[in-house]
Symmetry: C2
Subunit: 649 residues, 2 copies
């Protein structure tokens, strides 16, 4: 029988993902709020702390919980170390606070409290024994003497109710018969880039200056200044490994490749090597390392694609036949989603009896590139490999280098995407690409930032990818590109774009498909990296604004504001210290001028009615003074379909 | 490293109360539905079962899960044994079903499937090995031969897709690399009365025929036929134990009792005994047992009050001084909620170092009365005693007699009431007493029957209690009493009333308080148990209807129907087998005639548009034929403020 003297119960602890099986996520310096329902019998006063520590620390730190509404309590602390934290809750009936609460009510009622003062002496003596602060101890000792003297009753009654005593009793509470929550919960702290990153994707083979020529890492060097100037801090390359020749796909995904077709980078492996090797046409390992270094000098990290699948020519097929599934006719099972067939791809057979050896090898691939300076991996189709595998791989890699981040490329069912985040992916692609109108965007942002996902799923918003040429963009004008970019960059603190195609508004599409025509997935393209337009200027401008204004470094800090026009959407973002206040207003109609009245969240800004607010449009530099709660906005999409206001008062 | 070959993950299992710490509740014969999200990588077909068993059975039974929407799966089973059940989930990739799913899609696409048929042979042979049904085995063996013969390709293709094969593959699935959920969850099954009970409360001391005389158990015998005729199946008595004399309260809660004042039954204990003794004025233990027996003959159970507190004269105070809290002046701490004082009550000091001895004694009290034939206890103020104590006591008592039911008398904060239900209370009082208008009633019923509470909190609706003379009833006419009774009895399958006061519409109140004037809590009253009125007739009628119509035996089976009048509320209830369909329409305005159009839930009834429905008013016997989805109702409260329709087609 457990101690029957414990009277507080702790439940509905939040965050607690799958009963504590998975970790909540934060980045360095972020605040972490823990809430729980604390219940006890009767009317006694509860006291409670959240206990927390980096997993390897011996000493628990404490954050005192404060009562909120409906028996919910809350405490907050900042995370200052990368890696795992642990947290739990301890709560107890606070005898001294209960005593003070009751004596106050009796005194107010006009009752004599002589016996209560005697009771108080015993309680204060217990506090004195545990109290580590000299001045508090001295004060308590004085009270003990005071409470004992009948003649100083009036003063004793006053001191018994003092705020000073109240604060000492809270601070130096003696936990008796304390209940500790029955779980120690995990929290994982990443470096800041996990939550604030700006991605630019291009195919390294499409960087040659001469049309039709296969680009190299050396060519990529010449693209670097452009990407840096545009304000991106992550470059993501599709796979850079040898490409299979068997069943190689031709241009526009044709089944028969021509001799000069370069193949799909995701069909990894041929006689020159596999996942730890580089496609010879791109250059040498030294060229690769040179590119990584030069990018770093410009503040840009290279993210590699981690695509766990093999071309039929991959060395694994011969070295590790048991890592693939064999069919009745003695052939290897190629990838298929019947009736579709992908004969150029052999999926890994994850149910293989050699799974342990295989998992170690795959961890080794990531660690190999990590040793080359790569700390970000965009993982191709993680939802076609077991969740347990990812949980293991990500944990193993982070043990070696806690800086490594994984972006999950899973455009699939909601709960699968959520589970991938739970098992450790640092960021995930999202449905943003298909959320077009105001209702859809607000509903989706609310789901991401207000529901349970907010604690474990970090969205990364992309208006396009090499796999997705969204219908909306296929029919769009430049204004729409301007708009979809701006929303990706301001709704989500992580965002990216499949760069040259997007910036050049190259929206040629396969008929009836969300696929690009003449896609770089199947052929080498050549881009004029010096070409600028309205969009390229705005991309650079917005990335600059994002960097400077810390409200954009977070995603969950969004509040949608009322605005009385279905084409206008307004949202407010605020930095944790409330010093940076941003109001974005977008006109979702890329063709027509729209106007309406927007409600400014003055309470969140912390400014009273009628205090004038100065709003500065961070793109145009124009300034406005707003006196009221509701204010008029008018957006001509041909000029600019949005305002990004910084608010000062 | 756990087996990496397991590919299915199981999460969001429901019900799962506090991560499985507390049991879901059902009564004998009820259906229990378990849902969970099942996820796997890729496109393979999942198969899954809920495994369940009475806790003492060795063998697990299985209920196959069916996919619902959004990766949620569901299975259902009926509970047939009282006491604890256990349940969990096992899920796996079903190779054979995946094979059939894929071959179907390839055949539809016009592909040759020779190799797939070969693959199928291996899979079918695995199924044959495990298949326990001879005819299925024979069929599978025929298919193995068929699939192997090139000449019978056409037939093989047909049989590979057959529904017969599909059903065999589901039924005799071979679970490979199955995932079992990481928890075994508890379910507790009570006898049916836990969910369907009809309570009548009266003070046994108010049963004497002569005015002012103290009633006895013998007098109570003469009340029994009335209660039985009114259709109640539980009589609940306030405490029947010796009543303290120190600080005894007088009439209308006056601080000074007069010599002939009888005191408050909840101030338990005096020199003649404590919680295991009977107030001598009520009679002997034999008289008590006689009453229990006579009630049983009429189908009525006696529920006793379990009020864990003592008068200053209770034998415990001398025998077990450590069970009470002592103050600095050497007195025992009486009950208080400052500034209020209750000097006639000593609360139990649950933090006592003698808590184990104390807990055993309190369990002993319940078992003592249980040995006298008592199987229902109404627990007084359980929220002022530790949750852990109740969890222990209820479990210990149910080990001895699983028939015992506990009603929690906690009119307190929502989460406290919920926690009491979680730790084992079979039923709980509710806020029904204060839910008056349509919006309040629908919101509250929705919370109770659609949210998480539905699985562990069984409401018991009371329009009044000796402690609550609701303001609404204080100002009400007979129609309001008729209405509040009918709603308690038809919204909730458990309901009760503080009988004579309610039925006689004795609503004399203390000014400005929800208390009765001349309350039986402080004095003996005399009732004319032969007096009848419209209300008493309707109470009997509705209890008869409740008994006969099984839709009223459940609470969570409620659906509110649209009705276009804010004073009219309509709800539909259906038995689990869908044979009993009830529509209630109430006019919440006890003074004015109201009419409107009500929408009949034809889909739930399982009847198409335009099929005529026959509605019989079970109170008046009037019949109506309704052809449409929307139908006109008109209720004159002076006649009857409700319809209770039985629907036939």
């Amino acid at each position: 029988m457990k101690s029957g003297q414990k009277r507080v119960v702790i439940e509905n602890v939040y965050p607690e993902i799958n009963c504590g099986q998975h970790a909540a996520k934060r980045t360095l310096g972020q605040l972490f709020t823990v809430t729980a329902d604390l219940l006890a019998d009767g009317h006694d006063v509860i006291n409670a702390v959240v206990k927390y520590k980096p997993i390897n620390s011996k000493k628990w730190q404490e954050a005192r919980m404060q009562p909120q509404e409906n028996d919910q309590w809350s405490a907050q602390f900042a995370v200052e170390k990368q890696g795992y934290y642990q947290y739990t809750i301890t709560a107890w009936i606070d005898y001294a606070l209960t005593w003070q609460h009751n004596i106050e009510r009796k005194i107010t009622d006009g009752q004599r409290v002589n016996i209560e003062l005697q009771d108080g002496i015993t309680l204060l003596q217990e506090v004195i024994e545990k109290c580590s602060e000299r001045s508090a101890r001295t004060y308590l000792k004085e009270l003990v003497i005071l409470f004992a003297q009948e003649k100083s009753y009036a003063l004793a009654v006053e001191e018994a109710q003092s705020e000073k005593l109240h604060q000492i009793l809270i601070e130096f509470s003696v936990p008796t018969f304390a209940t500790t929550y029955n779980k120690i919960l995990p929290l994982y702290v990443d470096r800041k880039k996990a939550l604030f990153s700006t991605w630019y994707e291009f195919f390294p083979r499409s960087t040659a200056q001469k049309k039709g020529q296969h680009g190299t890492f050396k060519d990529c060097l010449s693209v670097l200044p452009y990407v840096a100037q545009q304000g991106f801090d992550v470059i993501y390359f599709p796979p850079i490994h040898p490409i299979g020749t068997s069943h190689r796909k031709g241009k526009n995904n044709s089944v028969q490749a021509k001799p000069d077709d370069v193949g799909v980078p995701w069909a990894i492996g041929n006689t020159t090597g596999g996942h730890k090797d580089i496609l010879p046409e791109l250059g040498s390992l030294e060229d690769f390392q040179k590119f990584v270094e030069e990018a770093q000098k410009l503040g840009i990290e290279l993210a590699l694609d981690f695509a766990l699948q093999c071309s039929p020519d991959h060395p694994y097929v011969k070295q590790h036949p048991k890592w693939f599934k064999w069919r009745a006719d003695g052939s290897v099972q190629y990838a298929e989603n019947p009736p579709k067939k992908y004969q150029d791809i052999y999926p890994i057979y994850f149910e293989s009896e050699e799974w342990e050896e295989m998992w170690e090898e795959f961890v080794g691939i990531v660690l190999y590139w990590n040793a080359m300076g790569i700390k970000i991996f965009r993982v191709d189709n993680p939802h076609t490999k077991p969740f347990g595998f990812w949980e293991y791989l990500i944990a193993e890699v982070k043990k070696q280098d806690p800086d490594v981040l994984f972006l999950s490329e899973a455009f699939t069912k909601p709960k699968t995407m959520q589970r991938l985040a739970k098992v450790g992916f640092s960021q995930g692609y999202t449905y943003y690409t298909w959320r077009n109108n105001k209702g859809e965007l607000i509903a989706y942002m609310t789901e991401l930032t207000q529901g349970p996902m907010k604690d474990y799923f970090r969205p990364n918003f992309w208006p396009n990818t090499p796999d997705i040429n969204p219908y909306m963009l296929q029919g769009g004008n430049e204004t729409l590109y301007v708009l979809r970019h701006m929303m990706a960059a301001t709704l989500s603190s992580n965002y990216g774009m499949y760069g040259p195609v997007y910036e050049q508004i190259d929206n040629a599409a396969m008929i009836g498909k969300e696929e690009y025509l003449n896609s770089e997935k199947y052929e080498v393209r050549t881009w004029d990296w010096t070409k600028t337009n309205k969009l390229t200027q705005l991309v650079a401008k917005i990335n600059e604004i994002r960097k400077k204004h810390t409200a954009f470094h977070f995603t969950n800090n969004i509040t949608f504001c009322s605005i009385e026009n279905e084409h206008l959407m307004a949202y407010f973002k605020q930095s944790e210290d409330k010093s940076n206040n941003i109001l974005c207003v977008v006109n979702l109609d890329p063709y027509k001028r729209q106007n309406g009245w927007v409600q400014v969240p003055r309470q969140k800004i912390g400014v009273k009615e009628n205090v004038p607010l100065r709003l500065t449009d961070l793109v145009t530099g124009d300034s406005y003074i707003w006196h009221d709660e509701w204010n008029y906005v008018d957006l001509d999409p041909n000029q600019l379909p949005y305002h990004i206001f910084s608010i000062h008062f």
